[in-house]
């Protein structure tokens, strides 16, 4: 019984050895532009070659499922916890064993079974038009459904995972029925049909099409760093508001990585993950994409610092995945396109 | 003076910048069936298109029932002329049934009158019961009759027929021409046919205008064109025949290689004038007893009779009809004689 797999593995090893040096295959929902420099650095340091395929997290997950035992994937990188949870549910992940990772990443940013880990944190606050909105009127995500904001909110489509995760966190806090009512209230307050990405929502506020937008912080960070005058104008017109500071905290999500069950290069995969939480890699993330590091010792970029500090929702992020399906369906029902 | 329906006065036309009709005049009486006969390229189709309104006039006027249709400064649009037209390529609307094609120009008629007119025309052209067929389901002859009915339906003041039979086979062509004549006569529509085929013209028309190089050579009944052509061109164009040298002898007689012939009326030439005598094959008869002998040089069996080609002693070759059972061999000398009442005489060339 035990003999066959060993022989098989040996044969496979023999077959593959002369063909390829050490490598690791990454399915990434992160844009290669944002991750590639980091991977190059890793290749230089370790000599391990990184193969990257990028795509939407859902597509990559479906692919890993379809590929089954034959999958070439070692790691699945996503930009949210929900998809990592889905991957876990689908049974395509396995626990990561690394003391280094255990030490460096806070527990709430890690799957309880350690099948995935967070690599960066991203927050999803409210941005408002400085000239048209009195920030003292803002309080919570829930309060966005007040009639005060009728026709004044810009937010992207419900097919986007960031909104799905936001709704999932609210299901955890307020229950499904209340969240569905909230989604309906949001739809009623939309300034326009959901369209475009987070940056588009920020631009729309600056241009006056709406007064409030819900957006991840790093989109704002990119505008801050932009050399283009029209982007600078957007930044000047907007300010950030951290909602729910008096209760559970502002909704945060992670970008993270899952360890694929049928990984062919497990050692290299863990090696890559450990590299990603090194101080320099974390600082790089913060610097290049304005995300919050998971490692507390890592330095923040000046841009991030300028947004101020906030209290984050302490929810274990696995919950975002558990509630995802319910979140999607209730937003569908609420007519959030 | 008779009233006239179509009047064409001093009309000149160009086709692609080339002058094709010069100062042509022509008039048709009401209910008359006219014909423009001429070789291809003589400008007759261009004239027809000018009457229909698809061709501007360079000079002259076209009138129909005392209404000015066209002049260099005026052109009634085709749809307001009251002129119907039957086309060479038939031009039935393939997406409409027979009845819909015929009724096409009757848009503003009341439904019942329209229906009655369609039935009447279908009956007239002998195609009753075909109303729901589509053009592609009909034979060429049937299609052409439908096209005729369609053009006649709105009761135009003038019907133009542009070589309507040329797409059909020879046998059908002659038959259809007579049929169409009968139909038009019974409806009393003034019509103008364009053709290059003299048989078609004879079958169809009351009067034929032979057109050559942009003007009318002669406008006459078929009989007169055939037997009293005004020019050698007309004589040759309306049927086969040959010129024979002759000399005028008296006021009513000429001397020819086949003897002295007398005319039924006075000749326009003084005695002693050398002339050309035009002889058609039916003027020369094969007669074994004749004193005039000729050499048989060609023969065409036509069933009921032979068309012989005979060479006279002076070298002239003439056509000659002979009864079918008079079967002579080529090279034989046979007797021929002239049987002419009216002489066709032109000045000698």
């Amino acid at each position: 019984m035990r003999f066959t797999p060993v022989v098989a593995a040996g044969l496979a090893g023999l077959l593959s050895l002369p063909l390829q040096a050490a490598e690791v295959n990454v399915y990434s929902a992160r844009q290669d532009k944002l991750i590639a420099p980091l991977l190059e650095q890793f290749e230089e340091q370790t000599g391990v070659k990184v193969n990257l395929i990028t795509g939407k997290a859902e597509e990559l997950l479906t692919r890993i499922k379809a590929e089954g035992a034959a999958t070439p994937a070692d790691l699945l990188i996503t930009v949210d916890a929900g998809n990592l949870h889905r991957a876990k549910e689908a049974g395509v992940l396995q626990p990561i064993e690394s003391n280094l990772l255990d030490q460096r990443i806070p527990e709430r940013l890690v799957d309880p079974d350690k099948q995935w880990v967070g690599l960066t944190v991203r927050a999803r606050p409210i941005f408002y038009a400085k000239d048209r909105v009195d920030p003292s009127k803002l309080s919570t995500y829930e309060a966005l459904t007040d009639s005060e904001w009728k026709g004044r909110i810009c937010i992207r489509s419900s097919s986007n995972i960031y909104n799905q995760s936001l709704a999932a966190s609210m299901i955890e806090a307020n229950g499904e029925a209340a969240t569905e009512a909230w989604a309906e209230g949001m739809v009623a307050n939309f300034a326009r049909k959901p369209t475009g990405g987070d940056t588009d929502q920020l631009r729309a506020v600056a241009a006056g099409q709406c007064d409030l937008a819900v957006s991840n912080t790093y989109y704002f960070g990119r505008l801050i760093d932009s050399a283009k005058p029209e982007d600078r104008a957007v930044v000047d017109a907007l300010a950030v508001f951290w909602p729910n500071q008096n209760d559970r905290g502002t909704h945060v999500n992670i970008s993270g990585a899952g360890f694929v069950k049928h990984a062919k290069n497990p050692e290299q995969a863990v090696q890559l993950l450990e590299f990603m939480v090194s101080d320099e890699a974390q600082a790089y993330y913060a610097e290049i994409n304005h995300e919050y590091p998971v490692v507390e010792s890592a330095t923040l970029s000046d841009t991030i610092k300028s947004l101020g500090t906030f209290k984050a929702d302490e929810l274990n992020l696995g919950v975002l995945g558990t509630n995802n399906s319910a979140a999607v369906k209730l937003m569908d029902r609420a007519g959030w396109q | 003076m008779d009233t006239e329906s179509l009047v064409i006065r001093d009309v000149s036309l160009t086709y692609e910048q080339v002058p094709v009709i010069q100062n042509l005049s022509l008039a048709l009486k009401p209910q008359e069936l006219g014909c423009l006969l001429g070789p291809s390229g003589c400008g007759k189709s261009t004239l027809l298109r000018a009457i229909a309104g698809f061709q501007p006039l360079n000079s002259g006027e076209i009138w129909l029932d005392d209404h000015l249709l066209a002049s260099p400064s005026h052109a009634t649009p085709p749809e307001s002329r009251g002129v119907g037209m039957v086309f060479q390529d038939i031009a039935l609307f393939p997406h409409l049934s027979v009845a819909e094609n015929i009724a096409f120009g009757l848009g503003d008629w009341p439904l019942e009158t329209r229906q009655a007119r369609v039935d009447e025309l279908l009956h007239l052209i002998g195609l009753s019961g075909m109303e729901s067929r589509y053009p592609h389901e009909l034979s060429g002859g049937q299609q052409q009759r439908i096209a005729l009915a369609r053009a006649m339906a709105p009761k135009p003041k003038l019907l133009l027929l542009d070589e309507p039979f040329s797409g059909l086979d020879t046998e059908l062509r002659g038959r259809l021409a007579s049929e169409v004549r009968t139909i038009l006569k019974s409806d009393g529509i003034c019509s103008l046919l364009v053709t290059h085929d003299q048989r078609e013209a004879f079958d169809f028309a009351d009067r034929i205008a032979v057109i050559h190089e942009g003007h009318i050579c002669q406008f006459d009944t078929p009989y007169q064109l055939y037997h009293e052509p005004h020019s050698p061109f007309v004589a040759h164009f309306v049927g086969p025949g040959e010129m024979v040298d002759a000399v005028v002898e008296g006021p009513r007689s000429v001397s020819s290689p086949l003897g002295v012939l007398s005319n039924d009326q006075d000749l326009a030439f003084a005695p002693g004038t050398p002339v050309n005598l035009f002889l058609r094959p039916d003027d020369l008869i094969h007669d074994d007893d004749s004193t005039y002998q000729a050499t048989l040089v060609g023969k065409h069996f036509r069933g009921a009779h032979h068309l012989y080609e005979v060479r006279l002693d002076n070298g002239v070759v003439l056509g000659c009809f002979a009864p079918s059972h008079h079967n002579h061999a080529i090279g034989e000398r046979i007797g021929v004689k002239l049987d002419v009442e009216h002489l066709v005489v032109f000045p000698a060339r």
Partner: protein
């Protein structure tokens, strides 16, 4: 060699037949049938968990949006294509020849690229609207621009790139109409407008319908545009169900519904095409009815004809060129171009080879069942890429898992022999684009007289030899056209490529889609521009062959 003269040509040669040509046809038909059968098969496996959610909340929306989009696109392509064809066919004015050609150019654009480009420039915060606000333009003027990312917007984008189908067909139909027919109508007392309404349009109607139906098939197959504009149609629904809910069964069932819509279009297209054929060959062509127009009226005609070209080609191309020149990061483009060209080139060669063999099989062994198979092969073009991808992924993945299990004892590591390789992609392209190649190859082959084949055989060539030595050289133009059209179609293809591409393999279309998805519309300009420029080649080619005829 006592061969009786009465023996039919085909069976005489049939004695030596290698069955390769027939086998290829059967195989090609099976290829096309595979995704259809797989997708339809899922109708019988019962409801999935997500299905009830779909039926309750989304199905009606998908169906309604798909139908509404189709109606708007149909109106759009007719409203642009028919008047353009009318002006080009019945009037002569300065620049007419150039315009008749320019009007085809939008065909080079995939609708999604047009959508990305216009979004990039017509955004609320973009230059056009910012300028309009600065001059205090009225709201009703800005609202439609603001709402570009909507169903009517998607219909507009699709109409702008798909109207050439209608324009081409209508123009051919107008040119085919005998001038005498129009003159006959005039002599029957009809005004110019009545002639247009009662003769010209009814006669061209089957051709217009055929062009419209082609445009509608493209509309139902479109994924990139509707996805980007957030219009929920069947294609986006299928992709969302497959990826978002991870529900293969639901996706396949949605695919069968979409297939139902397509089937209706296919039947309508066949009917209308049948009538087109019968209309055009009975009449003598006489295009002398054109009217000379000069002065202000000529200027009006020129402007009207230029309008669709302007919005469907010139403006977006100018934008793409500008963006490419100023912003593009060109280094990664090389690899993408190489991938795209290798994939499109290789696939189109394979597809055209298969098309040649199918056409040749029909020539050698004309029979009823073979012509049915050929019709089946032609259906692939009507299948939306999403449906093909689903229908190919499911069986291929099963096969891979089965094969891996069988080979496990040999120590062969589990491998995705079919679904993880370029093979799946080439297979999907074959299914979708074989009909495109067939069209050109069949018409090319039909122009070669059978007596040439017979002389070739008598002079000692084999069947394959006849194909190689006589047919291919004689129909070089048709073969080239087929390769070119397939090449460009593959280059533009998005949904199937998206779902089936192997590991580490991006193409220009994929990159464009991804960049646009990340709102980096300006970075998407360079790959977009490349797709459009290559897409121009067959358009130019097409126009040459049309004007030659």
């Amino acid at each position: 060699m006592a061969i009786k003269n009465s023996t039919p040509y085909s069976s005489r040669l049939g004695r030596y037949r290698p069955n390769g040509f027939l086998m290829t046809t059967v195989l090609a038909a099976l290829c096309v049938a595979l995704p259809i059968c797989v997708v339809l098969g899922f109708l019988f496996v019962g409801e999935s968990e997500a299905w009830s959610h779909l039926v309750e909340t989304l199905l009606a929306r998908y169906a309604w949006n798909s139908v509404l989009l189709s109606i708007l696109v149909a109106l759009g392509v007719i409203a642009i294509g028919v008047p353009a064809a009318w002006m080009i066919s019945f009037y002569r004015f300065p620049g007419r020849d150039v315009l008749s050609w320019l009007l085809l150019l939008p065909l080079a654009y995939p609708a999604y690229i047009l959508a990305y480009t216009y979004t990039g420039v017509l955004d609320y915060a973009g230059p056009v609207l910012t300028w309009m606000r600065s001059i205090d333009s009225p709201q009703w003027l800005m609202d439609p621009i603001l709402n570009l990312k909507s169903l009517p917007g998607a219909a507009l984008m699709l109409s702008l790139v798909l109207y050439p189908y209608v324009y081409l067909m209508a123009r051919a139909a107008f040119l085919d109409q005998s001038a005498n027919l129009m003159e006959a109508a005039y002599t029957l007392g009809q005004s110019r407008w009545a002639v247009f309404r009662r003769v010209v349009i009814p006669m061209a109607r089957p051709a217009i319908a055929a062009g419209t139906l082609l445009a509608l098939m493209e509309t139902l197959a479109d994924f990139g545009t509707v996805q980007f504009f957030g219009v929920q149609t069947f294609t986006t629904g299928i992709v969302r169900t497959y990826y978002g809910f991870g529900d293969t069964t639901g996706a396949a069932q949605l695919s069968s519904l979409l297939l139902g819509f397509v089937a209706i279009l296919v039947v309508m297209e066949r009917l209308s095409r049948h009538r087109v054929r019968y209309y055009s060959d009975r009449l003598r062509r006489l295009n002398q009815a054109s009217q000379y127009v000069t002065g202000v009226r000529a200027l009006l005609l020129q402007s009207l004809c230029l309008l669709p070209v302007l919005f469907g080609f010139l403006i977006p191309t100018a934008l793409l060129v500008t963006w490419t020149a100023f912003y593009a990061e060109l280094q990664s483009l090389w690899q993408l171009t190489l991938n795209s060209f290798a994939l499109a080139g290789g696939s189109s060669l394979i597809i055209v080879t298969v098309a040649l063999m199918v056409a040749y099989a029909n020539r050698l062994h004309p029979s009823r069942w073979l012509s049915y198979l050929t019709v089946l092969v032609g259906l692939g073009y009507a299948l939306p890429g999403v449906v093909i991808a689903i229908g190919v992924l499911i069986p291929f993945a099963s096969f891979d898992h089965w094969l891996s299990a069988q080979l496990a004892f040999l120590g062969v590591p589990p491998t995705l022999w079919l679904s993880g390789s370029v093979f799946a992609l080439v297979f999907a392209y074959l299914v979708r684009f074989l009909a495109v190649a067939n069209g050109s190859i069949f018409s090319g082959l039909s122009r070669i007289r059978p007596s040439l084949d017979q002389s070739g055989r008598l002079l000692g060539l084999s069947q394959t030899g006849v194909l190689r030595e006589i047919h291919v050289p004689l129909m070089r133009g048709s073969v080239l056209t087929a390769v070119l059209v397939c090449f460009v179609d593959i280059l533009k293809e998005l949904p199937a490529t998206l779902m089936l591409r192997p590991f580490n393999f991006d193409t220009l279309a994929i990159k464009t889609y991804e960049l646009a998805g990340e709102e980096r519309l300006i970075d998407a300009a360079a790959p977009s521009l490349l797709i459009v420029l290559v897409g121009l080649l067959p358009v130019i080619w097409l126009n040459r062959s049309v004007s030659k005829e």
